[in-house]
């Protein structure tokens, strides 16, 4: 379960609203069940009291919503940010995507978020979910209660959490954490060890499930084009369905290139993919290569960062050197 309670956040939000600091709150709204939580804008204390929720299923990263929300009003909006969300927040500011003056950011600690898809793989027909310490108790309609180890059912990005430290906020609730030496590049290393044929087969298998719903793109805090090239009938590459195995891969490869150096590894793409495609691995490969070629770089760690691939220096790696790294088998 989470370290701080929902009431602490509701009180904080109400306090900031009554003080006039903000006039609305970007937060998580309760759903039909314990797990189907929706991002919402709360504009009264009453709404907050009745519907605001903070639990193990609040995975949604609100940073991207700030683009739209800050355009709606001259007044400030309150946003609650988990540590990983603050990286997206900074990256969006670096790209001048929203007005910082219109946001009041409250950093909140996070113990990792639970992956409902993972829970539902083994447990269908769920009546309720209770969080208690390091356990998750799944109350089913027909098979009694099932107790799960929370660590086993965390979202992938939370199993490999890269930071408990907030890199942006106006105010922090609780103590700040540290940047974590996570194992997030282990899967990338496995892919790098494969032969080109094996790797091709791996991605062919994963991406063949893509239904081109665009959820990965639409949730991505780095995908903020007003008009995506894939939605533009005049672009020549607009495609609403993966008509063949080339198109199926092209969309994801182009997207990965487009967000390279800007992706903070927030993991929203994989979290929302209805087909369970590990899209974050494409982005992590880029991050891992950038680290290797240009030195450690974390997008969004501070506002105004110049990503290595848009920041030419005479020490930059020559393109030909990449060929010798074993990445290309030919």
């Amino acid at each position: 379960m989470q370290e701080i309670t929902r009431d602490v956040l509701v009180n904080k939000a109400s306090e900031l609203m009554s003080a006039g600091t903000v006039d609305r709150v970007l937060g998580w709204m309760r759903g039909e069940f314990d797990y189907d939580i929706t991002p919402a804008v709360f504009s009264t204390e009453e709404e907050l009291k009745n519907n605001f929720v903070w639990n193990d299923f609040c995975g949604a990263n609100f940073s991207k919503y700030l683009i739209r929300e800050t355009q709606k009003s001259e007044n400030k909006v309150l946003v609650f940010l988990k540590p990983c969300d603050t990286y997206s927040f900074n990256q969006l500011l670096t790209e001048h995507r929203f007005d910082r003056e219109k946001v009041y950011a409250v950093g909140i600690p996070c113990n990792g978020m639970v992956d409902m898809t993972e829970i539902k793989k083994a447990n269908e027909a769920i009546k309720a979910i209770e969080e208690s310490g390091d356990s998750i108790v799944v109350k089913t309609l027909y098979d009694g209660d099932v107790t799960l180890d929370r660590a086993d059912v965390l979202l992938e990005r939370c199993k490999n959490c890269k930071s408990k430290k907030h890199v942006a906020y106006d105010e922090l609730i609780g103590d700040d954490g540290e940047i974590i030496e996570s194992a997030r590049f282990d899967e990338v290393a496995k892919l790098e060890k494969m032969t080109a044929d094996e790797r091709y087969a791996f991605w062919q298998n994963e991406l063949s499930r893509c239904i081109r719903c665009n959820a990965c793109r639409d949730i991505c805090p780095a995908c903020t084009c007003e008009k995506c090239v894939f939605d533009n009938p005049n672009s020549g590459v607009e495609n609403k369905a993966p008509a063949d195995s080339f198109e199926e891969k092209m969309f994801h490869i182009i997207r990965a290139f487009h967000v390279a150096g800007r992706c903070t590894d927030c993991g929203e793409c994989s979290r929302v993919c209805p087909q369970g495609i590990p899209l974050h691995l494409l982005n992590r490969k880029f991050i891992s290569d950038i680290n290797e070629f240009y030195g450690e770089y974390q997008a969004g760690s501070e506002v105004g960062n110049r990503a290595p691939i848009v920041n030419y220096t005479t020490e930059d790696l020559e393109p030909g050197e990449a060929v010798g790294r074993g990445g290309i088998d030919a």
């Binding site: 009546k127 719903c213 607009e238 008509a243």
Partner: protein
């Protein structure tokens, strides 16, 4: 009514597969999906497949025709490939109902011959839902998951599978299976049906009802202030439309092959900004309008044009898959007046 013991399921499948390609739900690391049966493939126990069964009749992409250019001649080639019979096993009551909804669209004049062709070649073997989930609300739309339709309906108990032919096609197939199945009385499947009925009545969404929607409700609902909050955090992705068994919109596109054109259709989504864009611009400029369109279509426009039949079957896929957890249940509860409150 026929029956076969569960340990003979493989025999049943191999017998069916002798005369037609057999598809059934199998487990994968990413949930259940329909796959071609072959020796060793096991029927999934999952309540439903991630993608719906509409794919069999209305695939995500489908080649319609080819145009081949040589000199001044244009040759038109019919590229349809769906000419073999196939059987789909284990379709749930909700998905079976979705075929009726799709039929009214694709088989109405002018008949969509591509869809019709696939429908004629397909035999549907449905299966009652032993463990309906919290996200199920088929009952709201008059569907009884203890009595699924289809060409053959089946019920799975602890040790046997009961099979009951519902159509001529189903009777033909079931009689071909006579030597491996045994006769059973209708009453033998009753305890299972009763158990399912009792479970359906106790589902969390069992009370969801439709009186606020349907024929003639357009004016009342179109400008409802609730649409704003409901659509507020919608990403505009197509997940709900693509996992939905009844969403049936598509686009037709030409692919230039260099010496000809491949004309194909692919699913489209009313959630997309480019959906049905026409010369005058765009008919729905905001996400609120696009979001409203999807739910008004399911709950008001479709029933208005189809004798009150709603175009949602309560399968719950959108509840499970929407990235922001907005779905038709929340829409119905918010707009549905006191009864759904």
């Amino acid at each position: 009514m026929r029956k076969i013991s569960l340990d003979k399921l493989d025999l049943l499948f191999s017998e069916i597969a002798k005369s037609a390609k057999l598809y059934l739900p199998v487990d994968t690391d990413n949930g259940a999906k329909y796959d071609v049966w072959e020796d060793g493939k096991k029927l999934s126990d999952a309540l439903n497949t991630v993608r719906s069964a509409k794919d069999f009749f209305f695939p995500q992409t489908e080649n319609l025709m080819d145009f081949k250019m040589s000199g001044k001649n244009i040759e038109i080639i019919d590229t349809r490939s769906e000419c073999e019979d196939f059987v789909v096993f284990g379709v749930r009551a909700c998905d079976v109902k979705s075929f009726e909804i799709l039929d009214r669209v694709f088989l109405a004049d002018p008949v969509d011959t591509f869809y019709k062709n696939r429908r004629e070649h397909g035999v549907i073997i449905s299966m009652a839902c032993n463990k309906p989930a919290e996200t199920c609300f088929c009952k709201t739309f008059g569907i009884d998951a203890s009595e699924p339709c289809g060409d053959i309906a089946t019920w799975k108990t602890d040790d046997a599978l009961f099979l009951d032919a519902k159509t001529e096609k189903g009777e033909k197939l079931l009689s071909a299976l006579e030597k491996i199945t045994e006769a059973a009385k209708d009453a033998d499947a009753e305890p299972q049906k009763a158990l399912i009925k009792e479970r359906l009545a106790r589902l969390p969404l069992a009370e969801l009802e439709t009186s606020a929607f349907g024929n003639g409700k357009t004016n009342e609902l179109f400008n409802a202030p609730e649409w704003k909050d409901l659509s507020e955090s919608c990403l505009g992705c197509g997940t709900c439309t693509f996992v939905c068994p009844t969403c049936q919109c598509y686009d037709i596109k030409d692919f230039n092959t260099g010496n000809g054109v491949k004309r194909f259709r692919c699913w489209d989504s009313c959630m997309y900004s480019e959906f049905t864009r026409m010369a005058h611009g765009n008919n729905r400029l905001s996400q609120l309008e696009r979001f409203r369109q999807r739910f008004m279509h399911k709950l008001v426009y479709y029933p208005t044009n189809n004798d009150g039949l709603f175009s949602c079957v309560g399968c719950g896929r959108c509840i499970n898959k929407c990235p922001i957890n907005m779905n038709i249940v929340k829409v119905m509860k918010k707009l549905g007046g006191k009864k759904n409150g």
